[in-house]
């Protein structure tokens, strides 16, 4: 079973010169030599030894800084109202939207955007190229894409789907570097959450604000139109003028009725050419003319009181409507403001980034163990397959 050419490589290096002239049968060789000549040594033990050398002697210690935080909205706080209780019983939609926020924060943390922003604030490239970093673990390429790839190896963000708790872990070659990365990333997430929250707030308030502005403009316009109307008609209160006019005509008609009664009474006992009768007749005629004139003045022609009243009432109605619209728009703005206040998202830190004392990474024993185990199993399969193959030739 020789997969590699160790035979030729090892023969000259054999430590026992006494054996070379007459090599005894293979079985006699001491077990270390036999082990070294076996492919297992080359394919499994050698890589494992290399891994041990690397992990225990070469690899630079990596410190981990861990932070946990949640993305919350005030809407989740229990509010003693029937509507909230019902929606909570049906399955609170507020919690779901918060989970969505937490997802977007997680995705942001693993994105090139977060890398670029963090690079602007603290020099990530310098942090991962410190002198103490070993050749294999250090950052070798500074292009943004490769930096992002390396970053994704060094920074993890895990989201607990049930509680919405985000766990952020950052690794670096110095404890304070790891903490700086974690702190910066939390700050970036915080500003992202604030940005998203601000945006949602602005969106919901903008419509209400526009409504209020429209209502205000309408109120002002209706007042201005009323004033202009009053100036044009030189009349403060058209409704009052109408009442006054009605009263005048009523008075005239009362007087006319009284004079007509007096005329009839006098005609009963006076001669028709009596001058007193003539005077009364003149008064009746004068009163009738006056009533006629009053009526036509109030109801006919451009400046007639009827037209004036119609215009006045329209403007008053417009003013009332505008007032009412403004009141309702203001109320809905108030509601929207409270709603926005309630829905505001914020990032709550549960665990602040720590300053590591002991380097948790690289995981020496697990790495070496899994390399050894994986290679052994692969070797076993390979050996079985090759042995099966050999049977064909035998």
């Amino acid at each position: 079973m020789k997969l590699s050419p160790p035979t030729t490589a090892f023969e000259p290096a054999g430590e026992e010169p006494a054996w070379t002239p007459a090599p005894p049968p293979r079985r006699r060789r001491p077990w270390p030599i036999r082990l070294l000549r076996h492919p297992f040594a080359w394919l499994v033990l050698l890589p494992t030894v290399l891994a041990i050398v690397y992990f225990y002697l070469v690899a630079a210690p990596q410190y981990v800084s861990e932070a946990r935080f949640v993305v919350r909205s005030r809407a989740e706080a229990p509010q003693p109202s029937l509507g909230n209780m019902i929606s909570a019983a049906v399955g609170g939609a507020g919690g779901l939207s918060t989970a969505a926020e937490a997802h977007s924060v997680r995705d942001f943390l693993l994105s090139h955007d977060a890398v670029a922003r963090a690079q602007d604030k603290i020099d990530l490239i310098a942090i991962w190229q410190r002198t103490e970093a070993d050749l294999l673990a250090r950052l070798r390429h500074e292009e943004p894409e490769r930096l992002t790839k390396y970053y994704n190896g060094m920074v993890t963000a895990q989201l607990d789907g049930l509680t919405g708790l985000l766990t952020l872990r950052a690794r670096a070659f110095r404890p304070e570097d790891a903490r700086a990365i974690a702190t910066t990333l939390i700050e970036l997430s915080e500003s992202l959450v604030n940005r998203l929250s601000e945006r949602a707030r602005e969106d919901s308030l903008r419509v209400a604000r526009e409504e209020v502005a429209i209502a205000e403009r309408r109120v002002l316009e209706s007042r201005a139109a009323l004033t202009r109307f009053r100036e044009e008609q030189q009349d403060l209160d058209s409704a009052g003028s109408v009442q006054a006019a009605v009263a005048t005509i009523g008075g005239l008609e009362t007087a006319l009725a009284a004079v007509q009664a007096e005329l009839r009474e006098r005609m009963a006992f006076m001669r028709p050419d009596n001058p007193a009768l003539q005077v009364t007749r003149n008064r009746v005629a004068a009163l009738e003319r006056q009533i006629e004139a009053e009526r036509s003045r109030r109801t006919q022609g451009g400046g007639a009181l009827a037209q004036q009243l119609a215009g006045f009432e329209r403007l008053m109605l417009e003013r009332d409507f505008a007032d009412r619209q403004l009141a309702s728009a203001t109320a809905s703005l108030e509601g929207a403001r409270m709603e926005a206040q309630r829905q505001q998202m914020y990032l709550a830190r549960v665990v602040e980034p720590n300053l590591a004392v002991y380097p948790l990474y690289p995981r020496k024993l697990i790495s070496v163990g899994s390399i050894f185990l994986g290679l052994s199993v692969a070797f076993g399969i390979g050996w079985l397959l090759v042995a099966g193959m050999r049977e064909h030739a035998a």
Binding site: M1, K2, A378, I381, L384, L385, G388, R390, H392
Partner: protein, 263 residues
């Protein structure tokens, strides 16, 4: 391990093994389909009918969006068919071909390799047919076909490891074969064919991801639908599931070979 066999000897042996497997494939095809009228076409007709019926049933039963789509079940079923075909035929592989073992060149793994090659050809061929049919019916073309092919290959390896183990166990305890038949159907609802991990509640997602086949279905759907869905898979986890059963199965077959030869 005499050491006399050199590198060229190994290459010769490998070539010989390939020839043996090729001959076994032809023999297997002949014993399975040779007498039927359609001949070798049955190899494709059987999974085609099964997959088509299942996809149409699910399509007719309604459901939202992708859950009822033809591609989801027809192509997914082919991946399952590969696993089912290989594992459910594993118990009688040794029995059916016992006479062949009198030839020195035929080894137990060869019998399995030949059957697996046939199953892979059937599943991959029908899957390609379904992909074309899906596109013809107005569906989108696969996003990354490489991932679908990778899923097929990994499923082949996973099933192969399990088949080795099943074969070596059933050569000793024949009754175990019945459990395998039941298990290959019982696994259907939980193997990942019917669901995507994204649809499950979070705590069930973790449970589902213990199942190695779920990772493979996720991998294939990642290649099939691309970014439309979130997929969860871990290739190293599948890797352990492949090499573990391979080691145990191949070792088991070596033991079985010695016992089978005695009969």
């Amino acid at each position: 391990m005499s050491g006399a066999v050199t590198r060229t000897g190994l290459v010769d042996a490998a070539r010989m093994q390939l020839r043996v497997i090729g001959a076994l494939v032809i023999r297997e095809m002949h014993t399975r389909f040779g007498r039927q009228r359609l001949g070798y076409l049955w190899l494709f007709a059987e999974p085609l009918l099964l997959g088509g019926v299942i996809a149409l049933l699910h399509g007719a039963s309604g459901g939202e969006g992708i859950r009822s789509s033809f591609e989801f079940f027809s192509i997914g079923f082919m991946l399952f068919q590969l696993l089912r075909g290989i594992v459910s035929r594993a118990p009688n592989t040794i029995n059916a071909n016992q006479t062949l073992l009198y030839h020195r060149q035929v080894t137990l793994p060869d019998l399995f390799f030949a059957r697996h090659a046939i199953e892979l050809a059937a599943s991959a061929g029908v899957m390609a047919l379904f992909v074309v049919a899906g596109i013809a019916m107005g569906g989108a073309a696969p996003d990354q076909p490489v991932k679908m092919i990778l899923a097929l290959v990994l499923m082949l390896l996973l099933a192969q490891g399990i088949a080795f183990m099943v074969g070596s166990i059933t050569s000793e305890f024949e009754a175990a074969g019945y459990f395998v038949q039941i298990a290959t159907f019982g696994i259907m609802p939980i193997c990942g064919l019917m669901f995507m991990v994204e649809w499950l509640p979070p705590d069930w997602q973790e449970v589902a991801l213990w199942m190695p086949t779920v990772h493979l279905f996720e991998l294939m759907r990642d290649g099939q639908f691309g970014e439309q869905f979130r997929t969860f898979y871990d290739l190293s986890y599948i890797g352990w599931w492949i090499i573990g059963p391979h080691l145990l199965g191949l070792a088991g077959l070596r033991i079985a070979r010695a016992r089978v030869g005695l009969e």
